[in-house]
Amino acid sequence: MSTLSEPQSDSYAKLQRDAEREGKSLFKLSQRRLRFWKMSWVYLVLGGAALLLALPFYYMLVTAFKSTEELASFSVSLWIQHPSLEPLRQLLEGTIYLRSIGNSLLISGAITVGNLLFCPLAGYAFSKHRFPGRDKIFFILLSTMMIPGAVLMVPNFLLARDFGWINTYFPLIIPSFGSVFFVFLSRQFISKIPNDLIQAARVDGCSEVRLFFQIVLPCCRPLLASIGILSFLGAWNSFIGPMIYLLDESMYTTPLVISMLQGRFSNLENVQMAGSLLSILPALVLFFVFQKQIVNSFASSGLKE
């Protein structure tokens, strides 16, 4: 049972399309209108809940553009009386926000590229190769997933210190390569690629490396999208690692800069919200554009076996 069980189709999106098509063809206009009234309470409930759920975002949006004078006034206002770009200016001048985006991109990009390369590679070997100890090695790898990251926080810090990695990006990037979860995902996915295809390539004298890059990888686009999106977002939003390992402010990642706002602009709620806004807005826009891919990759992360 898995959307990933059929590599060539994207069953979640397909079902969605089916549902839409069904909705269009089965019901005539009057029936649809009737249906709409029947459904009105669903819209009402969903709409009301959505308003509540969007409240934090709304608060952020409104507060980010309030002037400091407006904040100091002794009242609660749901709207902006005097819109001001001052908070944004203060944020950009008082922090290394823009630079931190570059830093975050660098780290997340490196982790993503590493995972995109190493995980399908290992997943391919685990599913299509036969070699002594294969299942044992896979089991050992899987069992490391049981160990929570927090347990490794202290010793990994000492290890990174031993390697001279403190205040570098290495302890954030290198241990994230070849994430076991993505290896697992890759193995499941690649095992559904027909053996004949691989066998045929082998008969043609294709080397294993070429086979992987030219035959296997092109079949894995949904898998690669999932690994790419999930590992990028995971790295982009990660906080505790950068907090422990990075010393120089110029190396800070975006979440780290955001977390510092409470201290640096302790009484300026508008500047704090401007920070949240700048970190959330681009993500929301990207989400709007690539909604399908992102939703699918999250959905695939949840369907194991």
Binding site: G23, P56, Y59, A150, M153, V154, F177, S259
Partner: protein, 827 residues
Amino acid sequence: MLPSLFQRKLKVLLCCLGIFSTQLQARALQFWAVGNGVEDSDMYRQLAKQFNAQSGITVNVTPLSWGNFNQKYMTSMAAGLPPDAGVANLGSPMEWGSVGGVVDFRGDFGTDFREFEAGFFPGTLPQFSFRGHLYGIPTELVTTMLYIRKDVFQKLGLKAPSTWSELDNCIQKLEAAGYHFNFGWTRGEQWGLYAHTLPFGFPGLHRTADGQTRLDWLEPAYQRGVLHALDLWFLHDTFGDGSTDRVIGRFLADQEDESIAMMVEGNWVAGSIEKLAPERSADWELVPWPRADEGQAVNVMGGTSYVIFKGSPNKAETLAWLRYLNSIEAQQFMMEHRIQRDGQASVFNIPPLREVWRPEHAAFWQRPEFRPVAKVIQASQQVLETFSSFEFVKGKPDVDHLESKILDRMGTFANAELTHHAEKHGLSRWKYIRGLAQGDFPGERQAILEAMRERLALEYQEQYPRALEKVRYAQENYDRDYADVVEHLGVYAAKASVLDYVKWGALALGVALILFVGLLPSLRRATVSYVFVATPLLIALVFVLVPMLTSLYLSFTEYHSVLPLASAKWVGLKHYLESFQWNDPDNVLFSISKTFFYVGITVPLGIVLALAFAALLNNPLSGQRFWRFLYFSPLITSAVSVSLIFTQLYRESSLGWLNAAFLKLGWIQNPLLFLKDESSFLYCVMGLAVWHGLAFTILLFLAGLQQIPNQLYKAAEIDGAGWWQKFWHISLPGIRPQLVFVTIMGMIGGFQVFEQIYMLGGGSGFAGSKFGPNDAGKTMVPLIYDLGFEQFKMGRASAVAYVLFILILAFTVIQLRLLRSNRSDGV
């Protein structure tokens, strides 16, 4: 053409290399400054430029924030990458000095430093000394002052209080007339206590003249002082108004029941009052903190200090830099720079040097830019000689931590008492406080104070033995293990540590595996496969196996990460045993129960809500894309950014949006304290976590629901099933795999919650991270983080981490067992 271009490029390259190497030669000093804003680093940069012009020494300034400066400094010392000098809080120098992290000014600089030392007010120095060493010098000082609205006082016929009983009397008169008293800075802070207990000669933990360590907790006078502080902190103006700006706004306003006529704040606030409302300048004044009726005048001392790190290769130059910073020229520049900043950033901090206050520099204070702070300058001069501090005693952080938690609990208790009484009379908290002051409820104030006194006595009674034990252990442990290590750092640094052994073991294992593959023909044939799987395997070996073994060993040792790893001392099961003692402040049982409570509510609640929304969203809605966008958008937002928003929504005053909404709806009479209340803190975190996690759960359920064939529903409809039956018999079993997955992942994620708690607990807003009042949010990972990266007790942190590991392991195994047995039942 071509060669010339090449030559030019080569030249540029050489030039770059040249610049690089000359920079290395100049050996710029690294100077870290913890501060409140960008202005401080700007100030130090300008000073560095002037210093460079005088001495030719370059100084690089790096800003740090209050929230994690300790962790940053400690990490840099632990990694051997410390700056040359830095600005820290008052408590850090002797803590870092006692583990060999910073330089002893007296010992290392000898006579060079004598004359420098004489320049400081003597009362400021003992707090940096430890066993005759001096590990820091003060940068600037802050103290609490009393801000008074003269016009209101005149109207009510009051005069500025100079003793505690006059203060109490003023507060009562003001409140009876509908004016507030607000205790701002140091409210609820453990270290702020000594202004309340020292007048009676009790500083808490200290070393007596005959070298004994004494803890004053059980002295009646000490407890009286604390009780007075609790009264001032918690029984008057309602909790928090958010920004200082707002408090100042209320201080300057003049409506009954809203404005503050007298407040306690730090000395730096005066400038911003003057800047916000210069026209009110004549209406207010500023006086030093009143003295106890019977007892000496004592002022609370906060501030920052300079330290020089042991790892610095340029100690003499660094001392020159610090001397420059303490020259009259630099001091006056700092004063001017601070006061001329915009709005709230404009501050006045008290310079700790006698020189600055000498009559010959009186003209300096007369400059026009100091006019806004003339009042605070005058008040500061009066209190300078009353600053006093005590030599550091090992174990003090532990004792302070215990007392800090007592104060947190007392705050909760006082608030509950007050609210309880107010509700009994059907009044809001403020109306009740006003009524008390007017004498409407005779005897009730006494009753509340009496209840608090009893509770406080009980708290101290209970915690006292624990505190003594902590001190005794810290001192014995230090004398036995660390004192020697600090003396012989080099020897220990050269010794092989557990990590080395484990690393060599891992290396040997790796080599053996490679040889195995290379030498055995049956394996050699599969070399390509082994290479393909090598990366995840290697990563697992180096970053999971090696750390797991290292931390297993560490969990049986006492190890401070600033010291070399080889200095870790074997203590057997101590950490595990202590972790399971209820009365230990960092006991793991407390955290486990918090964690279970958190998981036990967030996971089911998240699932139920997500199920409902998924079922609704599964209807053929128009505008699917829109709905999905609305409901799924939290997916991609970072926990840190979202937590920042929620921190403000949860603001404890009536100006927070949630409180404002609840008040408007009439659901509550008093603003809820949310994050400031021990009993509600974790619920607030849960609210945030459920909100943030909902998107992912809905998404999974929706994906599952859409895989259920429509025919099933149609068939059920024909059988006459209602929506509930369809949901219960078709939908729910249909998404069983998702339910299982969400439960397991939700629990594993819940066990590891950190960011949300760190941020809601104050994040970078306070000095040192706190995880909610009375550590209300100290679940497992915050506990590990706190032990490992705030307290730097690596052994204890490792032990707790292992407990967490075993817990999660046990849970996963049990769940999988249940799952398997269910499956064999054919469900």
